[in-house]
């Protein structure tokens, strides 16, 4: 294989973030250290899991019930502070902030989902192909990946939104496309590791064909890494989407996305800072939740693999 820009960080930013403490040295030395780490581990996992579960439940509840309709305007009750009637107050059109936040959770999950779907649906098969076939096909996949790699995701989304008009879906597809190379590389690197292992060698010796090996050995062994990667992409996609909405290039008002809520609240920074605070906090918590979950999973799987 020719020289390829693939040093340690080849698996992209998210991969290195996911990379945990690494090997803990000889088994005996690693043993006790695992104990302390596992506690930290379970904290990331539990906290991340709880946050993610909370947001999913919120989004589901918002499907059938919110305190007020998210789009219901009430000119009389504009910019009301928090009260018994409106827990988090109302915005400049008198819409209930809590209801809008709850509905926004749905948009947030949707956007994350689309991005991850696009990135994985293309990235994983392409990565497997690149790992299995060293010839022209594999090289072509790698070159394409190299070309796409490093192209800033948000910029791609901005360009696409500008071209096709602001919409949640186009923005998400753009972000998903921009992260395809990350999945190609992570999948390929991990798959190559599995394919070079002696158990795959043994499987070939008893006649398993390449794609059967992928199904039986490669996918189960790289699944954990991929899931961790998906969690991290989920958080990155949510961040990117919120930024696009904030710039007015994603979900259009009056749809209650957190990014656009934040942008609209910007005008009331001096008078009603709380209006900015809530959606900002929501984005922060969800992003934190997914990245904690990814971290927790990474560390959890790491333990198992090491033993």
């Amino acid at each position: 294989m020719s020289a390829q820009a693939e040093p340690a960080g080849a698996s992209g930013p998210a991969a290195a973030v996911a990379g945990t403490a690494g090997s803990a040295g000889p088994e005996v030395v690693g043993g006790p250290a695992v104990g302390t780490r596992r506690r930290v581990r379970s904290f990331s996992l539990v906290a991340g899991g709880l946050i993610v579960a909370l947001i999913i439940v919120t989004a589901l509840v918002a499907l059938i019930w919110t305190p007020y309709p998210a789009l219901a305007v009430d000119p009389a009750g504009r910019l009301a502070g928090s009260s018994g009637a409106h827990l988090l107050g109302t915005d400049q059109y008198g819409r209930d902030v809590l209801s809008r936040l709850m509905s926004g959770a749905r948009i947030t999950l949707y956007t994350g989902f689309i991005s991850v779907l696009v990135a994985t649906a293309v990235g994983i098969p392409a990565g497997l192909v690149a790992a299995l076939y060293g010839g022209v096909v594999g090289q072509a996949v790698l070159r394409l990946t190299d070309i796409l790699y490093g192209f800033p995701a948000l910029l791609a989304a901005i360009a696409l939104s500008a071209a096709l008009g602001a919409s949640t879906t186009t923005a998400m597809i753009a972000i998903g496309v921009a992260y395809i190379p990350v999945f190609v590389r992570v999948t390929r690197a991990n798959a190559l590791g599995v394919l070079a292992s002696e158990y795959v060698m043994a499987a070939r010796a008893y006649g398993r064909r390449p794609w059967a090996i992928v199904r039986r050995h490669v996918l189960p062994n790289i699944a954990t890494t991929i899931v961790v990667q998906m969690c991290l992409l989920f958080s990155l996609a949510i961040l990117a989407e919120a930024a696009l909405d904030y710039l007015g290039l994603g979900t259009r008002p009056p749809a209650p996305s957190w990014g656009s809520m934040l942008q609209q609240a910007q005008g009331y920074l001096h008078s009603d800072p709380a209006l900015s605070l809530w959606p900002g906090l929501a984005v922060f918590v969800v992003v934190l939740g997914f990245s904690l979950l990814g971290d927790g999973l990474a560390e959890l799987f790491d333990v198992r693999a090491r033993r």
């Binding site: 020289a3 820009a5 960080g9 403490a21 190299d146 490093g150 901005i158 360009a159 710039l247 900015s276």
Partner: protein, 314 residues
């Protein structure tokens, strides 16, 4: 090394061509003709047609593409349809805001990341280490525009110590720096969070390494061993992600400029997108992606130079 550089250069050219086709294609297929947009809804079909010809938009697409590419390469970027200002000058002025902002953000990011990552790893397993790790994690999750908004609320709205928006000329360096400070912090916090995670991982690997143990075996104290054998090795993985992080900073700057209404590249881009100022948007997207791709190349090459294991190979 030369072979590697040539190879990477080839990839760069391909990437640039790919990006230019995408950028040109995406923005040219924009619904609504620019002439229509410029002249407004009341314009007669004749005047729209006239302007279209004047702008060269009646030529075949491939010719438009090569005209544009020629302009990009020679620096003759042309004139904005909307503002009638030369695009090159506009970008150059915007760069004077965005460039320093990105650099300042990087510096702040490193100032945050190095102690967080280093001590987070060194104190791993203790409460302090866990707290430092958690801070990095939190910083990572703060969206720039949320952090920026928060900073405005605290420093501009509550305490009035720093400006919330706007940018004076560089002829007033003091106040110019002051107005870049809050945006740079909100950029730096996120970047610092990300870099600290990388650093932490690589320092943890370092601490497990046999060669650090060898250094300790020679009688070096932990501090000495880390200084002499650690830094270069721990920094290597950081360099590999350096290009991506710079890209992240540049894109982050686009958002932050919007929060603080700074007249930088980001604001210029958004204004042109909203005004359907096709040519300006094309040029900026192309310029930013080109910059990012070139930075990536430089980072890859410097990594090769820094790691003796790779330096000799092609």
């Amino acid at each position: 090394m030369v072979r590697f550089a040539a190879h990477r250069l080839g990839i760069l050219v391909l990437s640039l061509v790919g990006a230019s086709v995408l950028v040109f294609g995406a923005l040219t297929l924009l619904p609504g003709s620019p002439a229509q947009v410029i002249l407004g809804t009341q314009a007669t079909p004749q005047s729209v047609h006239h302007l279209t010809v004047q702008l060269g938009l009646d030529k075949p697409l491939w010719q438009q593409y090569f005209d544009w590419l020629h302009g990009m390469v020679t620096g003759a970027l042309g004139t904005s349809y909307v503002s009638q200002l030369p695009i090159g000058t506009q970008i150059w002025q915007a760069l004077q805001v965005t460039g320093p902002l990105v650099l300042l953000g990087l510096v702040i990011g490193l100032v945050i990341a190095i102690p967080l990552g280093l001590f987070g790893a060194l104190l791993q397993g203790r409460a302090t280490g866990a707290v430092l790790g958690a801070i990095g994690q939190v910083g990572l999750a703060v969206p720039t525009f949320v952090g920026g908004t928060l900073l405005i609320i605290v420093f501009a709205v509550e305490f009035h110590v720093l400006p919330a928006s706007g940018f004076p000329e560089w002829s007033h360096p003091g106040s110019a720096l002051k107005s870049l400070l809050l945006p740079a912090i909100s950029l730096g916090v996120v970047e610092g969070g990300i870099i600290s995670r990388y650093l932490r991982t690589s320092v943890l690997d370092l601490l497990q390494s046999d060669y650090l143990r060898t250094a300790r075996m020679k009688g070096l104290s932990m501090g000495q061993a880390l200084r002499r054998h650690g830094l270069r090795n721990a920094m290597l993985p950081l360099v590999t992600v350096g290009g991506l992080e710079l890209a992240g900073l540049i894109v982050g700057a686009i958002v932050v400029e919007n929060v603080f209404t700074l007249p930088g590249i980001g604001t210029l881009l958004l204004t042109s997108v909203n005004n359907r100022d096709l040519l300006v948007a094309q040029d900026i997207v192309m310029f930013v992606s080109g910059t990012v791709l070139v930075l990536n190349l430089l980072v890859d090459l410097s990594y090769r130079l820094l790691d003796p294991r790779l330096a000799g190979r092609s």
